[in-house]
Symmetry: C2
Subunit: 334 residues, 2 copies
């Protein structure tokens, strides 16, 4: 066993996040205490939501700090266990952070199976998948034939939302950055139509893609896309507020869309924020259904992988600039 | 029978509405055709929502016009009937407009009882009361002990929302314009606390009035009050978007509150617009319950009356400047 490579937050970003806000250090592998477990990180996931934790303002991810290991969730293999609940070789999901090894009390670990690509435990069967599942199904309540609009539609949550909506017999429209990604939305994730928000004709393209209006908008971005969607919502439409990535990577977030609350009143539209953690008592049933869809081929999660711990900062910065498709992962060991 | 005095829209307001945007004319009393009914206007109600119909932009009240009788709802007495469904002397709610006499097909009339102040048919038993009832109870779903915040809390809808919330054992906090109205909120409408939005200490006063946060916000105003409320909502709180009076009386409406949609996500807050017309199949049951509350003394609707048709423009302009308490009515005849 060599040392424990760790990526620490070296400085807090003042504007956009850069790889220079991080540094790599090698430190001794930690030793598990009584009831604790030593875990070897195999793969970590990187989500845009993490960025909020680095901003000066408070967020649900907590206050920002420097000189700490960057936080993150991983799948790890148990290397040494002082707990009866886990044995060497077990696969677990844990708050590994961006490092090779981490130590946790047993209660912070969740055992997972090896009968599926282990990265799925962080993607379609992890928080992203559960967010797509509960946001769309429990908050949005789609019916067959509904038009479901998704922003950041190729992203970690969005690419799953679009596919789950298709499983539920909805018409799906995805908004993403580039024409290339639009193609991917339709070819790989089965979206019925797609729009690039960078297009100079965005509003017209958007209108053309939703000729019957929008019944459910799964909002991953906020900002201008939310503004456009608000103007195309059908009677009793629902806007599922899942995140606001347009507002994460800056200390001066974009303003709210204009016309609120009037636009909600005219069409009796509901706009509802949610956090997936509220649905925790139903996680296992949701994971079982999602896994079934993956195994039957109805749901094709895309894991967008970087290779090697040292690539984690680059993977994160690129993610925030809209560079990803699917769920961004960093493979750290086999 | 003398002539039919009518108040017409003489010009469209460019900024704030003025009484000079109206003119009074006397014209012949109309003659009912086959199946039609001639109605003598007794009392009309004036609501802030009507203003939207005079703005240049489209609204659910329709496009603006000049040289037409100002629209409005009244209680009238049937004077002459060519329909089997109505008899001379019947009391009806009808789209009377601002005039002494109006003619309608029978299907546009709804018979009402004379065993209660007839103005209540336009207030607590009319659209205002139904809006308060369905907005609070069906959209907001209050539970005993919830803190219910109401803006325009002394207004036509707000003063009823606060009282219905008390009937449902909620704690009620009202936002209104002046300290005098705050006193009225607490003394007459039973609000547990009140805040003046014109106070230089509004944010601090507001926080002090809602020490346990806000579970349900019944938003009649939009604008800054909505912005403040968004920052005080409890977990899974609901914002009932009923109207946006801060945005009606201007051709340059106030912007949306900042921080959307992020503020909805962090606390899983739902913000929901509604139009009372969607609940029309349940109107009769609601009217029966509201009437019962009035007769038992639990609900005390306040009708804020002007006397004489010629006072209607003044009554409306004053209403839009925040001058009213309760439901503004204009008595036209006995």
């Amino acid at each position: 066993m060599s040392g424990n490579r760790q990526i620490l937050i070296d400085s807090l970003p003042e504007g956009k996040l850069a790889t220079s806000n991080y540094r790599l250090e090698e430190n001794p592998v930690p030793v598990p205490g009584d009831g604790e477990v030593l875990c070897r990180t195999l793969v970590i996931t990187i989500g845009a939501g993490t960025r909020a934790g680095l901003q000066g303002s408070a967020s649900y991810a907590g206050a920002p700090q420097i000189n700490v290991v960057m936080n993150g969730t991983g799948v790890s293999r148990v290397t040494e266990s002082n707990s009866d609940e886990f044995q060497k070789g077990d696969l677990v999901v844990c708050p590994s952070g961006w490092q090779d090894y981490s130590v946790h009390p047993a209660k912070h670990l969740r055992k997972v199976s090896g009968d599926i690509d282990i990265a799925h435990h962080l993607g379609a069967l992890g928080t992203n998948g559960l967010t797509a599942y509960f946001g769309l199904l429990s908050v949005g309540e789609p019916k067959p034939g509904h038009t479901v609009l998704v922003s950041a539609a190729a992203g970690s949550v969005g690419h799953l939302v679009g596919q789950i909506a298709k499983i539920k017999d909805c018409r799906t429209v995805g908004v993403t950055s580039t024409p290339e990604k639009c193609q991917l939305l339709e070819d790989r994730f089965g979206y019925d139509a797609s729009v690039s928000y960078r297009s100079p004709d965005f509003r017209a393209d958007f209108k053309a893609a939703c000729p019957g209006g929008v019944d459910i908008y799964f909002d991953n971005t906020g900002g201008d896309i939310l503004g456009a969607a608000l103007r195309r919502m059908n009677k009793r439409g629902r806007i599922i507020c899942c995140g606001a990535v347009s507002q994460y990577d800056t200390s001066n977030p974009a303003g709210s869309p204009s016309g609120l609350p009037g636009l909600l009143v005219g069409n009796s539209v509901r706009m509802e924020g949610f956090l997936v953690f509220e649905f925790s008592e139903h996680y296992q049933a949701a994971r079982d259904e999602l896994k079934g869809w993956i195994q039957s081929g109805q749901l094709k999660p895309l894991n967008d992988e970087f290779d090697g711990l040292e690539k984690a900062p680059e993977a994160f910065v690129d993610l925030l600039s809209g560079g990803n498709i699917g769920t961004r992962m960093v493979r750290i060991a086999d």
